[in-house]
């Protein structure tokens, strides 16, 4: 039996009336506002906004009042000296933990929440365009994420400058940045990490579209970020290291050296943006293929997971090959010449700082003619690669003094090129963590200092 027909019933078949023919197209801006309303109405998002706009400032201000400093974190040892170290300490922490988790909570849930609430059909009937829904969700997620990042920057900067002050900042190679330069550097560093943050946000979108209600979708950005951090700890070639989208979370360090280590930073930003683009396009294609009438649907399934992962793996491989081919970077990027140059440069800058602290006659880096002789403690071990067994003997000259000054440092160099030099004597130069200045005791800048080996720089320079 079939349904009655028009002929049977005498029903009239009508053409479209004018109202029907002009199907309404809901502009993306309206859908975007709708998505923002939904996001901001969630308590966890409100709490995150509150936390991002207050907690970093309170943290920086609180640390500024304590006697011990987070010296293991980049710029942590300078938190008593200037308020501009605070936002950089928060940036180091954010790159490791906060930003991946924020992207998880915001982008990782933006599509999955509709699965959880069973609201997809409602939304699509209201908007009538999956394409616009995708665009609006991605933009709304991005907006909230930028709001959170802006909170981290503003809060940590305000906390630092108000609680500690607007003093010059000592860069990663020991040179001094004026407050204006420091402010610019801080802002630029946070802007640079937006690229890997966008990459993680796009991975969150992909996970949210692909895995539906599964908590794995929510956790995907955090898992990817953790994986990238583990990869950065491994002895992988420098081209692979730079090709990972999270490298800009590390490479912003190069903004605080003189000259700026721009190569790794630009490659890291480009890799992050490429990942953001690829993951967003993959998420879009998977979303558009979805069947919204299938009530049992919970993500496009295993095939889609593969379709989402493979392009990103291929992208990472292609980027690594391209970086290797264009820069000629091979191996770890940490070589004896570069370590010696970085240690000598940082020592020279910081020696001048110590000289000023002690009220001695001013000297210039050129007059000091600092050199460093670094190895890994044995002729049988090649002087290259990361490790905590680097030992440097630093030599310098003082105007009008025949004797050459020397000091010994133990260097712990990470695979990302960042190192910490720990003074090993003589005690008059780097033996104590405090120096006695005319104004009282002050931290000894030569006792321990941080530095950065440019992984892409040529060995001979």
């Amino acid at each position: 039996m079939t349904a009655t027909t028009a002929e049977d019933t005498g029903l009239e078949e009508s053409g479209p009336d004018e109202e029907t023919a002009a199907a309404p197209v809901v502009p993306v801006t309206r859908v975007y506002r709708f998505e923002l309303v939904k996001l901001v109405s969630q308590w966890r998002i409100r709490l995150l906004v509150l936390a991002c706009w207050t907690a970093p400032g309170l943290f920086v201000a609180a640390v500024g009042q304590q006697s011990t400093l987070p010296v293991d974190t980049l710029f942590g040892r300078w938190m008593h000296a200037t308020g501009w170290a605070g936002p950089l300490v928060v940036l180091s922490f954010a790159g490791t933990w906060a930003l991946p988790l924020l992207t998880s909570v915001v982008a990782g849930d933006v599509f999955a929440s509709e699965d959880r609430l069973g609201t997809w059909r409602h939304l699509l009937v209201a908007v009538r365009s999956p394409r616009r829904v995708f665009a609006a969700k991605a933009l709304a997620g991005l907006t909230v994420l930028l709001l959170l990042v802006a909170g981290l920057v503003a809060s940590s900067t305000a906390g630092g400058v108000l609680a500690i002050g607007d003093q010059p900042l000592v860069g990663l190679d020991g040179h001094s940045l004026t407050p204006a330069e420091a402010a610019g550097g801080v802002l630029l560093a946070w802007v640079c990490v937006l690229a890997p943050t966008l990459a993680l946000a796009a991975v969150g979108l992909l996970g949210s579209v692909t895995l539906g209600r599964s908590p794995m979708g929510l956790l995907l950005p955090a898992i990817v970020a953790l994986g990238m951090q583990l990869a950065q700890m491994m002895p992988v070639p420098v081209a692979v290291r730079l090709a990972l989208p999270g490298y800009a979370f590390i490479a912003w360090n190069g903004l605080f050296t003189s000259p700026v280590q721009l190569g790794p930073l630009l490659i890291g930003i480009a890799a992050g943006l490429l990942w953001a683009l690829t993951a967003t396009v993959s998420a879009y294609l998977l979303f558009m293929r979805r069947d919204f009438t299938d009530t049992a649907h919970d993500g496009p399934g295993r095939g889609a997971v593969t379709a989402g992962v493979l392009p990103l793996v291929a992208l990472a491989a292609a980027t690594a090959v391209a970086v290797g081919a264009t820069t000629g970077a091979t191996g770890s990027g940490i070589e004896q010449d570069k370590v010696q140059r970085a240690a000598a440069t940082a020592f020279a800058h910081l020696y001048r700082l110590q000289t000023r602290q002690l009220g001695r006659p001013a000297v210039t880096e050129a007059q000091l003619r600092v050199t460093a002789d670094c190895d890994k403690g044995s002729v049988r071990v090649a002087a290259e690669g990361p490790g905590n067994d680097w030992r440097c003997v630093v030599s310098w000259h003082l105007p009008g003094v025949d004797a050459v000054g020397t000091a010994v440092y133990q260097l712990d160099i990470g695979p990302d090129g960042r190192f910490m030099a720990d003074g090993d004597g003589p005690k008059e130069v780097n033996g104590y963590f405090l120096v006695r200045t005319p104004a009282g005791d002050a931290p000894n800048p030569l006792w321990q200092f941080d530095g950065d080996v440019d992984l892409l720089a040529t060995s001979k320079g």
């Binding site: 039996m1 078949e13 409602h122």
Partner: protein, 313 residues
């Protein structure tokens, strides 16, 4: 009077992988009519409603909605509203905020869209400022209906709109749907409740395993059925049983009466045979206290049709 069609489907087929959800379905719904879709679970009702709402496209066949041929794009024309698989609400928003956000999607303020009016119409004014997360199923259904009403639809598609409604809520929703139809809106709804369909619908379509088993007015569906089971309560059950066994065309169905109801007798027969039995009971001086079908004629017809389809009959 001829009415223009809001929905015209011809040979609609929709598959999900190897599963054929709809198999050559024809459907016509006139404007100003309420059309019921009924069928067992997995019959294809939700898939068909999803096609009408533009949530999926048919693999084969032709579908015209409000006179517009539906192509391959995932979208329905203007004037179509409704929900499948329950209304979609955002629990962190209040009812008023949910509706205001939807109105803003259409470029209207809550006042312009008449949010207060639709809340009043579905009986949610008193709880309009409570978060939707605390709503019962019935309240969510009414809010879903309110959301659909905001768009002043000319085709309203509802999946199980009576689920979770108390009798008062059901009466209110039925009233709203009746008024919409009277004003020219076509309503397509699915339900498992045959009494709802009988009360509301001018036409019903019975789906079974993705095919149309029947389409027409409810009385016609009821008339499709042959024998029905009837429950009789008499002053003398033994005498009534003996008379039923002696009446042509009447069979006694043992064990069909509830255990606690020893006085009840269940017989299976066509209407004329039941009439004959009643005459005999009265003639024999047996008082007839109650006579009613065990299931409604519509439900019996539905069961007969769908069981027939599922068993390949």
């Amino acid at each position: 009077m001829d009415r223009p069609l809001a929905v015209r489907a011809r040979g609609i087929t929709k598959c999900f992988g190897d599963v054929v959800a709809l198999d050559g379905v024809d459907l016509e719904v006139a404007r100003g009519r309420i059309h019921g879709l009924v069928g067992p679970n997995g019959a294809g009702k939700t898939t068909l409603l999803g096609l009408l709402l533009g949530l999926a496209v048919a693999d084969e066949g032709r579908l015209d909605i409000l006179g517009v041929p539906i192509g391959r794009a995932l979208t329905a024309p203007a004037g179509v509203a409704g929900f499948v698989d329950g209304p979609g609400l955002y629990p962190s928003l209040t009812a008023r905020q949910n509706l205001a956000a939807l109105a803003a999607l259409g470029g209207r303020s809550a006042r312009e869209a008449g949010v207060d009016d639709v809340l009043h119409e579905v009986g949610l004014t008193d709880v309009a400022d409570d978060p939707a997360r605390g709503y019962s199923l019935g309240m969510r259904q009414r809010l879903g209906l309110a959301a659909a009403l905001l768009t002043e639809p000319r085709l309203l598609v509802l999946d199980e709109p009576s689920n979770g409604l108390d009798p008062a809520g059901k009466r209110q929703v039925h009233g709203v749907l009746g008024r919409l139809a009277a004003n020219g809106t076509a309503v397509v709804l699915s339900s498992h409740r045959m009494d709802d369909l009988q009360a509301l619908c001018s036409e019903v379509t019975v789906l079974a395993t993705g095919r149309v088993a029947f389409s027409g007015p409810p009385p016609k569906l009821a008339a499709e059925n042959g024998e029905l089971d009837y429950r009789l309560i008499t002053s003398d059950p033994e005498a009534a049983r003996a008379l039923a066994l002696g009446t042509a065309g009447v069979r006694v169905v043992d064990g069909a009466a509830p255990r606690h109801d020893d006085a009840a007798l269940v017989v299976r027969a066509h209407v004329p045979a039941v009439d004959e039995l009643v005459v005999r009971l009265v003639g024999a001086g047996v008082a007839l206290r109650e006579l009613a079908p065990v299931v409604s004629p519509l439900e019996a017809a539905f069961l007969a049709l769908t069981e027939q389809k599922e068993t390949g009959g």
